[in-house]
Symmetry: C3
Subunit: 155 residues, 3 copies
């Protein structure tokens, strides 16, 4: 196969794989599957949620066991993510998107959390994995806005 | 053309086509176009919405004529879907995502429904079509969570 | 490279580039980066928001300076867009999707706006850019629904 064709196919396949990885987060976390959740991250990957959580490696899998998360699951919840903007550089990649945590509230649903997300990915032997995900509530302060700004500035 | 190139191009094209098909659902149903809606499904395709609806074939087109749906349209509504995770196996495919029905409520909008979706697709002579879509409200019970779990478990 | 391979790769790359452009809108506008915002549009591109705004060229960059937008940013906001359906025809393209403006409201968040979007793109020397974006609130009247209907009717 022509080298240029291989390169362009690979770039497209990388993009699709990373899109799909991000798209799995909501279904995985809302079904409470901790093992599948951990498998999205690299072995020593990290998930920082504001000042609340800073999970590394096996702690990511344990996220679904946190009492707060279990309470969301039994009440009815959806982690709803927007389509990401993605930048791939060889064996590493970044993405930025929004997410909402939507909870059942009687007969309706409410938006409990609205966050900015910055993702860093690494290509492993098993495919693309999350190396660091940072999630910050959009409360109007600079922290969350600067996460989004990384995409704004064209990386 | 090289067989491997053909295979990889086709896989990417299949993915994009299925993404686009899912992305059409919201615009189609919110504009009330029943014919376009039915055209998204295979001829004998099925759309199961919890215990409320189990539509087959031409009944899918009639969904937009249901009085409840007409009331949504005149009130102001959006069927808002998240980017799906997709798995393609030859002539069939599956996808999982979240959806929200957002309704106008005076000067603002409210989340009336939050659902899990599991989609099955079939490749037809006219392109990919929905064979079965299941939609379950995320009320905290096991049914909706198990739909999402199909993606969690890596299929 | 085989002509057909080039054509199919280009079509896939165009699609991905337009998806990414749309996905940048939320992060860019929520981080308040007017220059990055203007760079998403063609030089004389246009952004029509209902009867409220009809911005052309440099006015698009100034959108982030509007007092109403600044108030959203300091309060905490997210412009949350759904994955688009896209149609590409040579040097031009169209897309349709939904968007929500979600605002902080004390400890929670509310959906302040729910809109239909119709996008027109043009291929420039610097890549794909927005030529016209129309955004209409989904209040139940025909205007917003007809924007969505453009995708419903298969273009």
């Amino acid at each position: 196969m022509n080298d240029e064709v291989e390169l362009r196919l690979k770039r497209l396949e990388d993009r699709i794989e990373i899109e799909d990885l991000i798209a799995r987060y909501g279904p995985v976390v809302d079904s409470g599957e901790g093992t599948a959740l951990a498998d999205m991250w690299a072995r020593d990957g990290r998930y920082r949620v504001g000042a609340e959580h800073d999970l590394v490696g096996a702690e990511v899998a344990a996220l679904t066991e946190i009492p707060g998360h279990q309470a969301y699951l039994t009440r009815g919840c959806g982690h709803f993510l927007s389509a990401p903007t993605i930048r791939i550089d060889g064996e590493r990649a970044q993405a930025v998107n929004h997410s909402m945590l939507v909870l059942r509230d009687g007969e309706r649903f409410v938006v409990e959390r609205l966050s900015a997300n910055h993702w860093e990915f690494v290509r492993t032997d098993a495919g693309w994995r999350v190396e660091v995900r940072r999630n910050e509530l959009l409360t109007g302060d600079e922290v969350a806005r600067s996460l989004l700004g990384e995409a704004a500035l064209g990386w």
